[in-house]
Amino acid sequence: MRHFLDFEKPVAELERSIEELRRTQEPGGINIEDEVERLTDKADKQLRLTYAKLTPWQKTQVARHPDRPHALDYIHSLITEFTPLAGDRAFADDTAVVGGLGRFNGRSVVVLGTERGSDTETRVAHNFGMARPEGYRKARRLIELAGRFGLPLLTFVDTAGAFPGIDAEARGQAEAIARSIEACLVAPVPIVATIIGEGGSGGAIALATGDRVLMLEHSVYSVISPEGCASILWRDAAQAAVAAEALRLTAVDLHALRIIDTIVSEPIGGAHRMPAEAVASVGVAVQAALAPLLALDAATLLARRREKFLAMGRDIPA
């Protein structure tokens, strides 16, 4: 059963009519093909139209769509010989952060991602993609591993943010995030980070301090969720749509602000409509981002990474 977002309802209705037609067609009955074609055409147009002008708040919903491909979907399809690694060597294995060794287009790499899960069971298992300190410490461990063996690091970020819990605070959530950012900044290997869904604040930047930062067309990346921002600045979480607008959290906005490097186009109707296509486009974009980085020596890579982040926000095109 496909999950439709509110603003997808007109498309949903058209698609339901098409299915209805197909189902009620009796063998040898009147030819409905023309009508099906007309409706399909209409549904396509409607979908194209809707997705061409999604508001930031609508994009936030697309980014959180339950059928959207998640980190493990990318890893399983883009990485061969994927070998998951586990644990922070101190406390636990936090599966909100997934990662390990594998090959990307034949090259040995370390992959990391925040995984939200795709059904009730896996969502609970991955804590809805909200990591605790041990998750960020596992990330740091894998980032350091990549550095030690000269393996490029690919990350797939999709998280509402770090888990806000008593245990997380007690074990040093802030420290764990800070160290993960630091690990990214000193890793002497290429880092390509892709925001594939929701890039939620500190929990996202912990894995996204890369040489190249890619973002899927309808993903969002923000310092705070629109709801959180609305409840603080507007004192009303219902103003989330307004806050989403103000936060400039879309790929287009962030590209203009030079916070991300590349926007990866999504299939019409969003990545959740055609997950395989979306995953493949990300694969192509990651390869294109990675290739020039492979030619750089470690010192140049590190210096440029620092410069890239230091330059951020300094000169913003009007």
Binding site: Q173, I177, L185, A246, R306, G313
Partner: protein, 308 residues
């Protein structure tokens, strides 16, 4: 007291104008409710003389508390940052909020950077200003931390940052988020130069500030009772639907959980920092040229990076 506050003060204000009103003679401690003579409180660095509660000083006061009174310290001019990159507005325009905060505090943004001596040791100090938009971190604060780090490297002096921040400045959106890696780079500049980076976490230190440079100190100190954490307590309560333990996210709690080296009362902060710098900076040069004697050769220096 209350009738006095309600009736007398407004009249004096209209007569003298706000700037000329002398500070209240008496201040009530928010913790123990004791009325304190304000001169006593100032002398005690805004620590309640009755219960020891640490009230929030301004960034300007912080610098004065930290550096030696003689020869004093010099504030550096901070680099400019883009004023309103997102053209953000909620109920107010961000540019107007900035303007108000500037008028109210006399600061450019939520941080000050200065250099001087602490117990005779040269040091660069950055003090976040909670009084300026809750000490929130946007590009200007990030830029100031980077500038402070560069100054420390230039002067071969340790960098000490007093944090006081509600976290990221939402009005700068993802640009404020990017201050987390930017300030982290600043900490590396100091560390790579072999200099100490010391953080002193004061009330409150939360969000993106905690999750970046605040937690990357070679040494991490805090003031008693300071609220320190990543997530806000209300968010945590709503998420886990549990009552938060006593003292949760307070300096003492973090110390107990191994996140801080020590909790230091404000009145002992200067001497503590001086001692720590003295112990860490064994190759330190005197802040001012004082003698012509050749420097002593260090005895068998340890390798800078021990093999792991």
């Amino acid at each position: 007291m209350s009738w006095l506050a309600e009736y007398v003060r407004p009249k004096i204000r209209t007569l003298l104008g706000r700037r000329e009103v002398p500070d209240n003679l008496w201040v009530q401690c928010p913790e123990c409710q004791q009325m304190l003579f304000s001169a006593d409180l100032e002398r005690n660095l805004k620590v309640c003389t009755a219960c020891g509660h640490h009230m929030r000083p301004t960034a300007v006061e912080r610098l004065a508390y930290t550096f030696d009174t003689d020869p004093g310290f010099a504030r550096i001019e901070l680099p400019r940052a883009p004023a309103d990159p997102l053209r953000f507005r909620d109920s107010k325009r961000y540019v107007d909020r900035l303007k108000e905060a500037r008028e109210k505090t006399g600061l450019d943004d939520a941080i000050l950077v200065a250099h001087g001596t602490i117990g005779g040791h040269r040091a660069v100090v950055a003090a976040q200003a909670f009084e300026f938009m809750g000490g929130s971190m946007g590009a200007a604060v990030g830029e100031a931390i980077v500038a402070a780090a560069r100054l420390a490297v230039l002067q071969q002096a340790p960098l000490i940052v007093f944090t006081a921040s509600g976290g990221a400045r939402m009005q700068e959106g993802a640009i404020s988020l990017m201050q987390m890696p930017r300030t982290t780079i600043a900490t590396r500049l100091v560390k790579d130069a072999g200099l100490p980076f010391i953080t002193v976490l004061t009330d409150p230190t939360t969000g993106g500030v905690t999750a970046s440079f605040a937690m990357l100190g070679d040494l991490q100190l805090a003031e008693p009772g300071a609220l320190i954490g990543f997530a806000g307590s209300r968010v945590i309560e709503q998420t886990v639907r549990e009552t938060l333990p006593d003292g949760f996210q307070r300096a003492e709690y973090l110390h107990e959980h191994g996140i801080l080296d020590m909790v230091v009362p404000r009145t002992e902060m200067r001497e503590t920092l001086a001692r720590l710098i003295g112990l860490l900076c064994i190759h330190e040069q005197a802040p001012e040229p004082m003698s012509e004697a050749p420097p002593e050769l260090p005895a068998a220096p340890l390798p800078e990076h021990a093999a792991a």
